[in-house]
Symmetry: C2
Amino acid sequence: MTSTDDQIPLVFRYGLHRVRDAVRVLPQAAWSVESNPALCDGQDYELLLDVERLNIDAASFRQMEEAARATGGDVDAGVRKQILDTVDKRGKMHNPVTGSGGMLLGRVRHIGNKLSPSHHALRPGDRVATLVSLSLTPLQIERILSVNLHAHQVSIIGSAILFDSGCYARLPPTLPESVALSALDVAGAAPQVARLCHDPRASKRVRRVLVLGAGGKSGLLVGAAARKAGAEVVVGIESFAKAASEAAALGIYDRILPADAADALAIADLACADGGEYDLVISCVSAPRAEMAAILCCRQGGTIYFFSMATSFTAAALGAEGVSRDIDMLIGNGYCLGHADETLQLLQEHTPLRELFVRRYG
Amino acid sequence: MTSTDDQIPLVFRYGLHRVRDAVRVLPQAAWSVESNPALCDGQDYELLLDVERLNIDAASFRQMEEAARATGGDVDAGVRKQILDTVDKRGKMHNPVTGSGGMLLGRVRHIGNKLSPSHHALRPGDRVATLVSLSLTPLQIERILSVNLHAHQVSIIGSAILFDSGCYARLPPTLPESVALSALDVAGAAPQVARLCHDPRASKRVRRVLVLGAGGKSGLLVGAAARKAGAEVVVGIESFAKAASEAAALGIYDRILPADAADALAIADLACADGGEYDLVISCVSAPRAEMAAILCCRQGGTIYFFSMATSFTAAALGAEGVSRDIDMLIGNGYCLGHADETLQLLQEHTPLRELFVRRYG
C-alpha cells in the first residue's frame, strides 16, 4: 500500500501496464511504452489527451539542436526528425542522450471511469498542461505543425496518456498559453528555492544566493523566488549576452556576471571575489559540467540545488568530496505541493519578469 | 577567493595543473590527468604517496566484474586488466562506465613545502587512507600484486598524488587496516544519515527509516547510524541472501526483506505493507535502477539520501515528478566534517557490526 488511493492497483496507478519492453519497471525507467490509446488494457485508469503543443526540456532541446547543427543540416528540420524518431521508437518524447523530457499542453478527450476522484473534476474539452515529464508520458504524434526554436515548443497534432499518479494544471486566463506552458515546465524550481530560503535552521540561513544559468527560464524564476523570499544578495551567472542583459534589467539580481559555468575556477574567482561564498547555489545550466562551479561557490554547510537535467550525479557527489566541501546537494524535484499555482503567481506579481516571459515565450 | 588558504593559487589547490586534455577543468571532470610525479610543475603543492592498496568503489567494481564475466574469462584477471587499462589511459582509476572511483591506502613519500599548514603535521613514512575519490587522484601502477574480489580491494605497488584541497585519515591502531579502509571508503554516509535523523524541523522528523542495499558496506553503516540516532523503525532491503542474513544478525534492523531494488513495485508492496511509507529512505544499491523503489517508499515531505554511485540524476528527478511525490532528494556527498572519525567510532561502538566487517573485509 503506497497510496491513499488504495482502490487503484499500483500497476495502473503508475502506468506499468503500458511498459513495452520490460516487466515491473515504471514508464520513466522503461526504454519504451505503448502509446496507442486503443492498444492496451487499463484505459479505465487513464486520462486521454489530444495534444496541441510540446514544451521540450531545455537540456534535451539544446542537445537536439547541437546534434542537428553537427550534421550541417537545417536546425528546424533536424529537431523535427529527432523528435519523430524518438517518439516513434520509445512511444514517449524521452531524449535518449539527456534522459529528460518536458511537458505538454492538450485538451481532455476521455476520463477513465476508474481514476481517482480528484481527476473527475475534469471535463472532456478542458485544456490542461501536464506536470509530469514527457519522459514517462505515452505520446503519439500524427503531425508536427511547427517548431519554435526560441521557446523550445513544438506544435503538433497527437495524443497522450496520463496515469492516475500524474499531475496537470489548468491554464490561467491571464497569461498567453505558451508563456504559462513555459513557466509550468519548470514549476518545481521556484517554490523549492523559496522553501530553501525559508529554512528555519540557523546553520542553513540563506543570505547570499548564486544562480548559475541566471538568464534562462528556470534561472529567472528561482532568482525572483529567492529575492521574494528575502535573500539579501542574489547574484547571477549567465554566458549568453542577450539573456544576461535581459536578466539584468529585471531588478532581480544584484549583478549578472558573464561566464561559462563549465569554467569552475573562473566562476569561483568572479562570483566570490566580492563577499565570499554563497549560502545557496542554484544550478539551472542546461549544459553539462556545471557541477564544480556550483560546488566551489558554496560555503561549508551551505546548499546546492541542482535543477538542471544536465547534472551528473557522480560529478556532483565526487566533486564535492574531491574538494572536501561539506554541503547539502539536492536533486531538483520537478514536483512539489502547489508548485503550479505558486510559479504562476510569481509571474503575476513580477511585472518585468512576466513581460520578459511574454516577449520570449509568447 | 574561494578558500581561507588564500596563499595557494586555485589551480594548484584543486589540481588543475595535472589535467592533461583540457584547460580549466578540475581533475575529476577531466578525461585524464598526468600521473607521473616528475612530469609536472607544482610539486611544491603536492603530497606524494607510495600506494599499497586501492579500495575500489562498489558500483565500479561490480561493473568491472560483470564486464569480465561477460567476456567469459577469469574474473580476477579481467578486473586486473580493466584497472590497468583505465589507469594507463586516464592517469587515475576513474571507471569510464560508472564515473566512480574509490580510495587508497599509502605511505607518505614527500610533502610539498608550499602545501597548507594542516598538511605539515604529516611525516614521510606516515600511513594514510585518502578520503578523496580515485576519480580525481593521479595514480601510477607499477604492479598489481593481488585482487580481493570480496573486499573490492587491490594490492599494488604504485604512487599517487594528493592536492592541497584533498583529505586523508590516519588509520586507527585498533582495526585491521583493510577493515578501516573499507569503512573509510564510505565515510560520508553514516554521519550524514545521523544528521538527517537529527533534523530539528517537525516536518522532517525521522521515525521510520528504510535502507535499500541494507547488507552492503554503506548500508550496514547507515542502518547502524540511523538506529544510534534514535530512529524507531529501521527496515532493510537486501537481494543477496548471505548479506541479508548477516545483516539480520546484527540487531540493527527491525527486519530485512529480500527483494531486488530494481523492482520498485514489489519493494513498495513489501516495505510499506506494515506501517506505510518512510520518513527517510537511503539508497546504497550498487546497481542501476533503484531510484523508483526509493521514491515510492518515501512519504510526502520525506527525504531520500542517494548514496549509491549508480544513481541516475534524471531518473530520480523525473521519477519523483512522474508520481507527484513532494520529497527532498539528496546527492550522497562523500565528504562531511569529521566523517572519518565518526564512521570509525561507529564501528568501535558496535561490536557485532565491527566483527562482521572484520570477517568480510579483514
